[in-house]
């Protein structure tokens, strides 16, 4: 069967093969050695899964319908159960090697059937018996209703006992309209299902992509809104990093940002928590913040570099990361029992980047439309039925708006330029930076637009920010002036800066405030010392300060009668004694300590734990140990005989065969280092390239990857 799939590939022209590679690029890496290898890879489950993800709803439905037919089938068979228009799509599925031609007829690779499942579109198994559909006309009362319940799937029903079923069911069973799978389960045969479905697999087949509808927006308004979003987003990013630089949050043990820190950040930014988490994620992606080695989350040097770039470059840097990332910020705060943390390890989802690009492509295709979420989700469900996720789509729209790729919900010209790799034009549209402020008599200052970086930094040091937006409102307070002085500014320096920068005269009360704070700042000095020397005899103090032997003690004179030192008290005393002085130690209240202190540990007692004696092993432990021994014996009995090497296809065929015969096997199995060991197993089933079998050594069900099985043979004892 699978050789015929390889044959179909062999009969392809170079051009056709090239088209296959184009549609399924994963087949190219690495380049297969020959057509058999290509056939093996093209019919492997991972590759088929990828190919499936590229199908739209109609293509996928058609493939499903094809799977409801028995191999081989004709084009007419397929069109009859679907629609005439399916012809071109069948060609596409063949081109992608999801269906292959066998002469005039068509077949489906086994793994495609496995993927679609036993019950394609909810249809039951083929009946092995002859069914006289005309008999349905005479069916007893309630029989049709009963069948109708199973028509659209699942094609399965339960009864207490097939043998004691009611007369209607018995009639249906007798006439083969139902199949008894076991004593309790009834199945609707595919032929009956198709008949009741009126000969078509699907109730309705959607051929064309539903169109995206929404509210129409004016292009100018969209771009204005987008530029507001862009400048807001850049501001959020800066704000968040600055805020975390002041008060760095600590990462959770499990990784990521704690809920409380997120809440604080969202309050600081004045946005909801989902938005704050998103901003943090984007900064994290860009390496502008990082979880440091001591678990503090801090801005990096990259942030400082980023700040120096133009607004357009800053935006571009962040927004391209968003497009490519596999992290889904929308998941933050969700989760069943434990909420998913921002910056945490649980946010990666495959395919999100492709989905983002599809959403944006749709938006670009419907310019000046703020799409209704439902209609967009509908459309994506058609375009990429396996990838589209309604939540993800709504998050993508939300994030695109935050980032300013959209404005008022519609794609902005900046978003279009971004996707087309064209000149963004953000810089020209953003408000020009201003280089002045307006100071008012109430000790507030207003920057009537975005400030240049240099002035913004300076203002950030000497004033507190009171409100943000298009403008920034600063307030000078005692605290903010003090902070500036702590940063090494001087009162006069601050006043000069303000006079230079303010368009309005600096109000006199503000000058007073600055002078007042500057006058008081630093009048009290604080420092570290480990020990001191106190002596009422100033002459002796003088002598000690000049004693060359005591230079190592790094003594510093604070007052005529007081010296301090960085060295510990014991070292200080020893040094003094060695130099011939007679110091005495005093305690905190100035009382002399005459006797040496009786020393005690400060920490609480923590005696070591007592290790317990070996306990008696449990029965399960013993029995599994015995089982392992026996299995080992059995396996070693087979050892002398090498399991013959088989090719992958042979292995598959053999395994399929033995699964049906239900015999124990010895297989050669390669471990991850390439070492081959023999295992004694009972094969159970094959799925997704994996053999599921009971391993005699452990007595448990285990999975064996088929490519690693080097050979198969019947077990000695089974022969």
């Amino acid at each position: 069967m699978s050789s015929s799939f390889a044959d179909s590939l062999r009969s392809r022209s170079d051009e056709e093969i090239a088209r296959l590679f184009q549609a399924r690029p994963d087949l190219l890496s690495p380049v297969p050695s020959d057509l058999s290898a290509l056939a093996a890879r093209a019919s492997s489950m991972p590759s088929i899964l990828r190919a499936r993800d590229t199908l739209n709803k109609f293509q996928f439905d058609l493939l499903t319908a094809a799977c409801s037919l028995q191999d081989p089938f004709t084009q007419l068979d397929l069109l009859r159960i679907t629609d005439k228009s399916a012809k071109s799509t069948l060609a596409l599925l063949i081109e992608r090697a999801l269906i292959y031609a066998d002469g005039e007829k068509f077949r489906i690779p086994t793994n495609v059937r496995t993927l679609i499942g036993e019950h394609p579109a909810g249809l039951g198994p083929h009946s092995t018996k002859k069914i006289n559909l005309a008999l349905l006309e005479e069916a007893p009362k309630g029989a049709i209703e009963l069948l109708n319940k199973m028509v659209w799937g699942p094609p399965r029903g339960q009864v207490a006992d097939v043998k004691k079923a009611n007369p209607t069911i018995t009639w249906l069973l007798e006439n083969n309209f139902l199949i008894a799978q076991d004593s309790q389960t009834l199945l609707l045969p595919r032929e009956v299902g198709m008949h009741l479905r009126g000969g078509k697999v699907f109730k309705e087949l959607i051929f064309e992509a539903p169109s995206v509808v929404g509210v129409t927006r004016k292009k100018k308004a969209v771009d204005l809104a987008a530029i507001a979003n862009i400048s807001t987003f850049i501001r959020w990013a800066e704000e968040l990093a600055h805020n975390w630089s002041d008060e760095p949050p600590s990462a959770l043990k499990s990784g990521g940002l704690g809920v409380r820190d997120l809440k604080r950040t969202s309050e600081h930014l004045g946005v909801d928590e989902t938005c704050a988490a998103f901003v943090a994620e984007i900064l994290y992606l860009g390496g502008l913040i990082v979880i440091d080695t001591d678990d503090q989350i801090l801005p990096t040097n990259a942030f400082d570099l980023w700040l120096t770039k133009s607004a357009e470059d800053r935006w571009h840097a962040l927004v391209t990361l968003w497009l490519e990332t596999s992290r889904v910020a929308g998941l933050i705060g969700k989760g069943d029992n434990k909420s998913v943390a921002a910056l945490g390890p649980e946010l990666d989802r495959s395919g999100i980047s492709a989905l983002k690009k599809s959403v944006l492509a749709l938006l670009i295709a419907t310019p000046e439309i703020d799409p209704e979420l439902g209609s967009l989700q509908e459309r994506l469900k058609f375009d990429m039925p396996t990838r589209a996720n309604n939540d993800y789509v709504s998050w993508i729209l939300r994030e695109a708006e935050w980032l300013g790729i959209t404005g008022q919900g519609a794609i902005s010209s900046f978003g279009i330029a971004l996707m087309n790799d064209a000149d963004l034009g953000v810089e020209a549209a953003l408000p020009k930076p201003v280089d002045h402020i307006l100071i008012q008599a109430d000790n507030s200052a207003i920057a009537p637009g975005p400030l240049t970086l240099e002035i913004a930094n300076e203002m950030g040091t000497i004033a507190d920010i009171e409100s943000r937006g298009g403008a920034t409102v600063y307030r000078f307070t005692e605290g903010s002036i003090r902070r500036a002085l702590d940063h090494g500014k001087t009162g006069d320096g601050i006043k000069d800066f303000l006079k230079r920068t303010s368009k309005t005269p600096v109000p006199q009360p503000l000058e007073y405030l600055i002078n007042d704070v500057a006058k008081r700042h630093g009048r009290l000095r604080v420092g570290h010392a480990s020990s001191y020397i106190r002596c009422e005899d100033e002459g002796l103090i003088q002598q000690i300060t000049h004693d060359k032997n005591l230079e190592d003690l790094r003594l510093r004179k604070l007052a005529p009668q007081v010296l301090i030192s960085d060295v510990e008290i014991n070292e200080l005393i020893a040094g003094l004694r060695e130099a011939g002085y007679l110091p005495a130690v005093e305690n905190a209240t100035g009382i002399l300590i005459s006797a040496p202190e009786v020393r005690r540990a400060k920490s609480r007692p923590r005696p070591p734990r007592v290790l317990s004696e070996n306990s008696t092993p449990s029965e399960t432990l013993i029995s599994s140990a015995v089982r392992a021994l026996r299995a080992g014996e059995k396996a070693s009995a087979h050892k002398p005989r090498e399991v013959p090497r088989t090719t992958a296809n042979e292995t598959l065929d053999l395994l399929n065969q033995y699964i049906q015969e239900q015999t124990s096997l010895t297989i050669g199995y390669a471990d991850s280092n390439g070492g081959v060991s023999n295992r004694l197993i009972d094969p159970l089933s094959i799925s997704l390239g994996t053999l599921i079998a009971r391993d005699h050594a452990t007595g448990e069900i285990a999975q064996f990857r088929i490519p690693r099985i080097t050979g198969v043979s019947q077990a000695e004892s089974a022969k």
Partner: protein
């Protein structure tokens, strides 16, 4: 980008560049829906609040109008989310209505069953409600009308009240337009109120609040209770009503600390209403004394909190609030909105501009350096005595006297908190002192002499300036304490200080001891006064003492 005068901030404040060519036009438009928060010299700050937006709705503006104004005048692009938020907030007003049902009486009605379900879930609201009649109607326990409106507002679903009013005892009142005519906006304000049923009319000082009140009374033609801030205001109201309406002297009663008259039109002070005897409000019966058809609240922004509670019980009577500002220092704007009513009329700014404009006073903070001995004393004083000590020091007294002497040809008021200090100042300057214990009669005599210019200088205590309006002055010197709440302080200053005859603005000195808690208070005062647009500067006491 329009390069307009407005900058909309993300915290929903709006900055208005007053030097911009479109500033005046823009100011008129945004005043309808945003509250003016600060008005220093260059950039004024307005704030968008749910209440402000709902008030705008009640006064007939829709969200589209608000958004149009913001977009038209904004200098930078306005975040879309903020606009959506405005539309969303404004659409909440009026989705719930209180109506009088012909069979079931007072009911809560909404055409949006989901909203109705949401609010009835509230723990506080459920006990106020009775049976649900249908999807859109729920019975409300009578007597809960006010409390329900309060609670709904807190939930963010303000209810419009269409439940109607009692007519009250009829009493013929008409305007007596003899030698004067009611202004257009005053008439519109009274009509706006009358059609709205109850609510607040916002009028700047000097725009003729009393006339709007009188016009409202002429609409009601019913017995009226007028609540005012103090006795002087009560007398002003009486005089105005006699002049502007058909009312005679014996139809108007005063209900205050000194008189307890109840007449068809009664003017009562807030103070008497909130007086308690043995923990019980003694004069609440006034609300039930007559079947009032109209209740007028003067200066709603100063309405004391207990009066709100009485007001919740009288929701079936028409209520008119009059004020210059809806901003309350205590943040009880919501109570005004739900219990008195939404804003019914905004006077167009143009009209007010024609009223002329009083230049705010020039504020001077005089920094006094304490002597070393005083500083040492201050440093060792107990925490609670510090303020008193630093505000009554000997140095301060010297500076106060120097200032008074310097301005001895002008009308000077010296204001303080500590009686000893005031007595000492009065004695040294040889001028009368008015304090709490000074009888009203004597006060009025002194004030009259002062107004006539026969006394040039008066010393008044803080207690004294509460009970009666101070006369105009050109110089005020504050030696200690605050001049009422921050808001009151700015307002009083504006009212007390009239420009000098030569057109120079009046001056307000406050004496502040350097490096003490006094200075901390002064900083708050500076901020607030500057926010209100007063010029503010600081000088050193030595400059006062040396210059002459």
């Amino acid at each position: 980008m329009t390069d307009g005068p407005l900058i909309v901030q993300s915290d929903k404040t709006i900055l208005l560049d007053v030097d911009h060519i479109l500033a005046d036009e823009c100011r008129r438009l945004i005043a309808a829906f945003a509250e003016l928060e600060k008005s220093p010299e260059h950039i004024h700050t307005y704030r968008l609040t749910p209440l402000g937006l709902w008030n705008a709705r009640a006064a007939g503006h829709d969200a589209e109008h608000v958004i149009d104004v913001l977009l038209k005048y904004s200098r930078f692009a306005v975040p879309h989310s903020l606009l959506v938020d405005i539309a969303e907030t404004m659409s909440r007003y009026g989705r719930l209505r209180l109506e009088a049902h012909p069979v079931h009486g007072l009911t809560l009605v909404s055409h949006d069953p989901a909203v109705l379900r949401e609010v009835t879930r509230g723990k506080k609201i459920a006990p106020m409600l009775g049976l649900q009649i249908d999807d859109e109607t729920i019975i409300v326990h009578p007597g809960q009308r006010g409390f329900l409106k309060q609670a709904l507002l807190k939930l963010g679903w303000p209810a419009e009240d269409f439940a109607g009013y009692v007519d009250g005892e009829a009493h013929e009142i008409s305007l007596n337009q003899d030698g004067w005519t009611i202004r257009k906006y005053q008439e519109l304000a009274a009509e706006g109120f009358w059609h709205g049923g109850s609510g607040v009319v916002v009028l700047p000082c000097g725009a003729g609040k009393t006339i709007v009140g009188a016009a409202a009374m002429a609409h009601a033609k019913a017995t009226t209770l007028i609540l005012v801030t103090n006795t002087v205001a009560a007398r002003q109201w009486r005089d105005e009503l006699l002049k502007r309406t058909s009312l005679h002297e014996d139809e108007i009663g005063e209900y205050s600390g000194s008189k307890k008259e109840i007449r068809p039109v009664t003017i009562a002070t807030y103070q008497v209403l909130t007086t308690r005897k043995k923990g019980v409000y003694a004069h609440l019966d006034l609300f039930d004394a007559i079947d009032w058809g109209l209740i007028i609240y003067d200066e709603v922004h100063l309405l004391p909190a207990p009066v709100f509670r009485f007001t919740a019980d009288i929701q079936s009577r028409r209520r008119l609030g009059l004020t210059a500002t809806l901003v309350r220092e205590d943040g009880m704007e919501g109570e005004v909105f739900s219990l008195i009513g939404p804003k019914r009329y905004d006077v167009p700014w143009k009209e007010i501009e024609q009223q002329g404009y009083i230049a705010p006073a020039d504020c001077v903070e005089v920094r006094i350096t304490l002597t070393d001995a005083e500083r040492m004393h201050y440093a060792t004083a107990e925490q609670e005595d510090r303020y008193r000590f630093c505000s009554t020091t000997e140095t301060k007294r010297k500076v106060a006297i120097a200032l008074a002497e310097k301005h001895k040809d002008e009308q000077v008021l010296i204001i303080g908190q500590y009686i000893d200090q005031l007595d000492a100042l009065g004695e040294e300057l040889g001028v009368p002192v008015i304090k709490g214990e000074t009888p009203i009669k004597e006060r009025e005599e002194l004030f009259n002499l002062y107004r006539a210019g026969e006394i040039k200088c008066l010393v008044v205590s803080k207690v004294a300036n509460f009970s009666i309006d101070l006369p105009d002055a050109t110089i005020a010197i504050q030696v200690s304490g605050t001049f009422g709440s921050r808001q009151e302080e700015a307002q009083r200053l504006g009212r007390v200080l009239r420009p000098k005859s030569d057109g120079r603005s009046a001056r307000f000195y406050s004496l502040v001891a350097r490096d003490t808690v006094d200075q901390d208070f002064a900083q708050n005062r500076q901020r607030f006064l500057a926010e209100q647009g007063y010029a503010y500067r600081i000088i050193d006491a030595d400059d006062v003492l040396t210059s002459d």
